[in-house]
């Protein structure tokens, strides 16, 4: 029985983390049509910033976390203004090809960030001092309190996002923009402001997800690629452009990995999720709830 609770709790924590990251990725694709391949690098940057704040500036965990989120936020906006926006606006490339160029450019940008981090801080793994320390015992399972903290924060943020999109005017404009960009401009909304807003929100999501990841599991500069691939896979599984789909898929993948690690073997942790992805691609390429 303990095993059941262990799997339930551990799987929930890691799935929540996947969910937060994937939500950001799905958001950016859904609204601005950009598959941001520097996603993982942005998360790693947030973690390393939080770690560096603790190690070099000797800030407490709260300040460190705040710095990490801020760095994620700033880098996300930088990504938009330096890499994505120029390519979206340029006249030198044909419209159909812009998607590919943005893809390549974000890929390069992600690698640049990864290399810079490795250069400044080496490629050793880094962890962030958790805000919540200690362990709690739930249903006979001794769990780090941090895991519960992680899950709670993830869901808090996702709930806030939902409120923002569905209940505020600005949020509804964003939703409309994702469905029909031209239509929105006809209504007098500045499309570019919407894009900036979305990248800003994305930056917060990535920063928070990154810092939580750093507190829970830790990252190294090598994690950038796998993190992007994982978010990409989850979002495709859930259906490109569908945020609810991404949430569900995140839990499917998270639990699949956890169950495999507990019941089959930790050596094969990532394989079932990979196979599922292949199966979905073959059988239902648009994912669970995809609409594009």
């Amino acid at each position: 029985m303990t095993l059941f609770w262990q799997i339930l709790i551990d799987g929930f924590a890691i799935s929540s983390l996947y969910a937060l990251g994937a939500t950001g990725f799905a958001l950016i694709f859904g609204v601005s049509g950009v598959l941001n391949l520097s996603h993982g690098a942005l998360m790693v940057a947030a973690v390393v910033a939080a770690w560096a704040a603790g190690a070099d500036l000797h800030t407490g965990p709260y300040a460190g976390a705040a710095i990490g989120v801020a760095v994620g936020f700033a880098l996300s906006l930088l990504t938009y203004f330096v890499v994505v926006q120029p390519l979206q606006r340029t006249r030198k490339i044909r419209e159909e090809e812009k998607e590919i160029f943005i893809l390549t450019a974000t890929l390069l940008w992600g690698i640049m960030i990864q290399q810079l981090i490795a250069y400044l801080y080496t490629d050793n793994a880094k962890t962030v001092d958790p805000i919540v320390q200690g362990v709690v015992s739930v249903a006979g399972v001794r769990t780090p309190a941090n895991e519960f903290f992680t899950a709670i924060i993830c869901w808090l943020v996702i709930a806030l996002l939902w409120l923002l999109v569905n209940r505020t005017r600005a949020g509804k404009a964003v939703l409309a923009a994702s469905m029909n960009p031209r239509g929105v401009t006809l209504l007098g909304v500045e499309l570019s402001r919407i894009y900036v807003a979305i990248w800003a929100i994305y930056g917060l999501l990535v920063g928070i997800a990154g810092v939580l990841l750093g507190m829970f599991l830790g990252v190294s500069s090598y994690s950038a690629g796998p993190l992007t691939a994982s978010a990409f896979a989850i979002v495709v599984l859930g259906g490109l452009g569908s945020v609810p789909g991404a949430l569900i898929a995140a839990y499917v993948v998270g639990y699949l990995e956890t169950v495999t690690a507990y019941l089959i073997s930790p050596a094969y942790r990532t394989i079932p999720a990979l196979l599922l992805l292949v199966a979905v691609m073959y059988v239902r390429p648009r994912g669970l709830l995809g609409r594009r």
């Binding site: 893809l103 390549t104 390069l108 640049m112 691939a229 896979a233 495709v236 691609m281």
Partner: protein, 307 residues
């Protein structure tokens, strides 16, 4: 139009012939660098065929390269048949791999295609690690035979292999098949409406890309004497190939070689910067993508376009 292609071909041929004489002046180290660059050039050209023409962003060119390289290497380390047999086997395996990959991949478009190719690379990496007794795992695979230990011989082999591959790929790109590919890449619906079997043509492009990738990969193993996941299959290697093709100039085939040589020259020139050199190279590459989307080849032939 015709005279422009002829001019380009003549110049390209001229450069190749001149390059064949470089061993007279250059030292073994530079020759070694260029040898690697030439093989990378073939990888990049094969990628350009798929991307630039068929319009499919292949994130995992290293899946095909790795399949070719490891098949050839494992065969040699187990049974030691003659090298040409291993290379042929590697190429065949890559082609089979290409078909196996193409079947699911071509049913999907755009980002899904990219993801499928990415998954293929991840699965190959998993296989390499899990079957370490066969592949050497993270220690890599060392083969008992190499083609030659003479730098000049290896250089010439790489150079002429690249030249011949380039010629074939270039000719293909300009042929009716290539034009249909271009059409399918840019507007599959219209190409289909015109009666062309888009899928069949893209599959052909896949197979050709796989052929050259696998062949070059196998030859590479017998040049270096070893293969490993981190030097042949890893996503970062794939990224470098993509960058070489893009900054060289997409849809030009020959530009890919320029890109590959440029990347190698830049990495060398920036060596004194140590670890930062990679960062600078990627920054430069990003700059090219942002400001010179037509790549180096586009830059060099710009005088033509102004005419």
């Amino acid at each position: 139009m015709h005279s422009r292609t002829t001019t380009i071909l003549l110049v390209a041929f001229g450069v190749v012939v001149l390059s064949a004489f470089l061993p007279l002046w250059l030292n073994a180290y530079i020759l070694g660098l260029l040898t690697m660059a030439y093989y990378s050039g073939v990888f990049a050209m094969a990628w350009d065929l798929l991307f630039g023409f068929a319009g499919e962003v292949n994130f995992g060119p290293t899946f095909l390269i790795g399949t070719g390289a490891y098949t050839a290497g494992i065969l040699d380390s187990l049974y030691q048949p003659p090298i040409w047999l291993c290379v042929a086997a590697g190429t065949a395996a890559a082609v089979v791999g290409g078909v196996v990959l193409a079947l699911p991949a071509l049913r999907v478009r755009g980002p899904y295609f990219g993801l499928t190719t990415l998954v293929a690379v991840l699965m190959l990496q998993n296989f390499i690690v899990v079957d370490a007794h066969l592949t050497g795992g993270e220690n890599g695979l060392t083969v008992p035979d190499v083609i030659s230990i003479n730098d000049t011989t290896n250089y010439e082999i790489a150079l002429w292999f690249m030249a011949v591959s380039g010629a074939i790929l270039f000719a293909l790109a300009r042929s009716p098949v290539g034009l249909i590919l271009q059409a399918s890449g840019q507007d599959a619906v219209q190409a289909g409406a015109l009666g062309f079997n888009v899928t069949k043509h893209k599959l052909t492009a896949f197979i050709i890309s796989a052929f050259f990738s696998g062949l070059a990969g196998a030859l590479l193993v017998f040049y270096v004497g070893s293969a490993s996941a981190s030097s042949i299959v890893d996503i970062t290697v794939g990224v470098q190939i993509i960058i070489a093709a893009v900054i060289g100039g997409r849809r030009t085939i020959l530009g890919a070689v320029l890109g590959a040589v440029f990347l190698v020259a830049m990495s060398e020139a920036l060596r004194p910067l140590g670890d930062l050199s990679n960062f600078v190279v990627f920054t430069l590459a990003l700059g090219v993508v942002l400001f010179f989307p037509n790549g180096l080849f586009g830059l060099l032939t710009r005088a033509r376009e102004d005419a």
